[in-house]
């Protein structure tokens, strides 16, 4: 169980780019992907900003290389695109004989298609082309389509712990390798934007009518986003021996539960504190070794307060540099942990820290000020990434320079 885990491949599609290179360029240029709604059909168009991947479903089919649409949802397509990039980037080849797992995470699955055709689905009188989407509603559909596309058979699963889902995918992946169940894992998450989600979050009154302002005193909520982020995990030892490109190590992880409220974090951030401390303990690092925290930072009143309090409790008066990248990508829900894992790996690999967009004033409750400009040569060796979700699900990951 002492085996160390390397990240050998990265893949991403988000509102700020279709691949790793484009995402990195946008992060460096402080170019946000948030804007007015263009692709999603909803009455909130022109009112609520969101962070859409800048492609129609038809364009995504093309990018994913699908010739015939037999029922590919936006979620499945985004996942296929990001997972393929990560898989190829790691040097993996379809059918190369390495025991491989695909672990995907999603919160809405194929809801984007379901909500378009649901009234037809439940009316037996109606027939038509829509029938091909029925079996793509559940969360497992996208994982199985991603796996089939990459020829992965040895182990497949999906996770839904709300907004911490894909951080848990990485954690499970590392454990599968340590237990010797597989030798390589493609792990991450994906969520396409849907009316269901935008209306759901709207009823909770936690959507900002402007661009989200993480860790700002005047924040009024989150901005929803969509996309997918995947990494490839392998044994560090094996990857080094094989001379593979190694972005970083997944050195620590922990999953805990706030056990406080179905949709809100506890104000003192109990679960968040526990997940950060347990992840650090597993990594064997000292608290001062953490150079950068990619915070969950959704910009809701309660998350940022709770997470900030948890950081102060955890780090004391030496809170490291931190930023939320949700001002770029929006909150991508089930994809957030995967997307932010890619960003954390890029931070270490390129020795940079990304700015927290739209920040002006710090909260009254504490003195925490996020990084607001890109820092080059930042001396980043260890990154802590937080993902917190509905149901009180908290997961923290620690990435380290290998």
């Amino acid at each position: 169980m002492s085996e160390r885990i390397a990240i050998t491949g990265l893949g991403i599609i988000s509102a700020i780019g279709d691949n790793v290179q484009q995402n990195l360029a946008s992060l460096r240029a402080k170019r946000s992907g948030i804007g007015q709604i263009k692709y999603l059909e909803t009455i909130h168009k022109g009112i609520l900003p969101i962070a859409e991947v800048k492609h129609t479903d038809e364009e995504l089919l093309q990018i994913a290389g699908i010739v015939e649409d037999t029922g590919y949802t936006r979620t499945a397509l985004l996942g296929m695109i990001a997972a393929k990039e990560a898989f190829d980037n790691s040097g993996a080849k379809k059918g190369d004989g390495i025991r491989t797992a695909l672990i995907s995470a999603t919160t809405v699955g194929g809801m984007g298609s379901t909500e378009k055709f649901y009234l037809d689905y439940i009316n037996p009188e109606k027939t038509g082309d829509f029938v091909k989407y029925i079996d793509s509603h559940d969360c497992g559909d996208s994982a199985e389509k991603i796996a089939d596309n990459l020829g992965i058979k040895d182990f497949i699963t999906s996770i839904n712990t709300a907004c911490s889902s894909s951080a848990n995918a990485l954690m499970l992946g590392a454990r599968l390798i340590k237990h010797g169940i597989v030798d390589r894992v493609v792990a991450g998450g994906v969520d396409g934007l849907t009316k269901f989600t935008i209306n759901g979050f709207n009823t909770l009154m936690i959507l900002d009518k402007e661009y989200c302002k993480p860790f700002d005193k005047n924040r009024t909520g989150l901005t929803l986003g969509e996309g997918s982020g995947f990494v490839v995990l392998e044994s560090l030892d094996a990857a080094q021996k094989a001379g593979k490109q190694i972005y970083c190590e997944l050195a620590g992880y922990a999953n805990t539960c706030d056990a406080y409220h179905q949709t809100a974090s506890s104000p003192e951030g109990t679960g968040a504190f526990l997940s950060m401390s347990s992840a650090l303990a597993l990594s064997g690092l000292k608290i001062e070794d953490i150079d950068y925290v990619n915070v969950h930072g959704t910009a809701t009143q309660i998350n940022d307060l709770s997470e900030g309090n948890a950081m102060i409790k955890f780090f004391g008066n030496k809170v490291p540099k931190f930023s939320s990248t949700k001002g770029y990508t929006g909150h991508t829900l089930g994809a957030a942990g995967g997307i932010e894992a890619v960003f954390s790996a890029l931070s270490i690999h390129n020795n940079i820290i990304f700015p927290n967009l739209n920040f002006k004033d710090k909260l009254d409750e504490f003195d925490l000020v996020p990084v607001t400009d890109l820092i080059e040569n930042a001396g980043v060796k260890n990154v802590l990434s937080n993902s917190f979700g509905f149901g009180g699900n908290n997961t923290s990951l620690i990435f380290s320079k290998a």
Binding site: L119, I122, I156, T161
Partner: protein
Amino acid sequence: MKAYIRGIGQISPQQTFAKDDFLDTVVGYNTNMLFCIDPVYKEFINPLQLRRMSRTLRMGVTAAKICLTDSGIEMPDAVITGTGFGCIEDTEKFLLAMLNNNEQQLTPTAFMQSTHNTISGQVAIMLKCKEYNSTYVNRGFSFETALLDSLMLIAEGNAHKILLGGFDENSVNLHVTTERLGHWKKEKINSLQLLESKTSGTISGEGATFFMLTDKEDVNNYALLKGLSTLYKPENEKEVEQHTIDFLKRNNLSAADIDLVVCGLNGDVRTDGVYYHLRDKLFAETAGAYFKHLCGDYYTSSAFALWLSANAIKKQVVPEAVRLGKSPAAALKNILIVNHYRDINYSFMLVSQC
């Protein structure tokens, strides 16, 4: 990797929530659509909370409570669940309100309770359990991954008692929708005659089953969960056969050591063949059992099979209602569960005497 089963709670289309009743009488349905028999929920959940809870949330939380009581363990070190569809009723409620009212006048409760991790979250809140908490949502691998995660946690030595659940909820709309895909039988049958129909399709079902897994020996343990394996989209029956042999071998067993094979026969002539293939090639001399005529088919029905097997080991009896083929041996030491969901997600579990 292994774990003892210390406690169980199950709500299903049979009277399975009462500890003493082990399928002594079974209920047949004529609708091709099975729903759970409700216990008196207010005996388990306070009425104020109960009013706000959807059906699946009631089922899940109650099954978890029955399991906790049965196990004598008050606080688990982790809560892990598996569900294919999650909370269908709340999802449908919010979806229909949104579509019928043009995205207006919506209320948050159904949305809040529609996520797949609602039950694991609610159970954690109820217990104030701040430990590991996860939910797996991959079709016929949902419960299996939850179980694997539990076994790994125990092997890692950080958790000694784990509350593991599998649940899925049926609904008329879900049945009607998936009927279009040919999943369900066109002709109405009596569920208890599931295997006699010889037609395509099966019957839909649901259930909520929770287990308390521990790493400690105890006289109250039901059984030892010795092994688990999954197989995705096998090419043919031969691959399933080989996978079964390899699985048993990894656990130092051969087909002759198995006293009972619990299989997921669902009466669909298109996909039942593989079970008969295994019987003919490996288990011709072994007693069999089936269970989907009692609970219907759903993504996490293997949790029902595990409930059945753990009870059979503990009580040393195979209920008449599930028997298939040869009579079971006098002593039940090893039970093999083989299940598949639509010929895509195959799972194998080995349940043994403690």
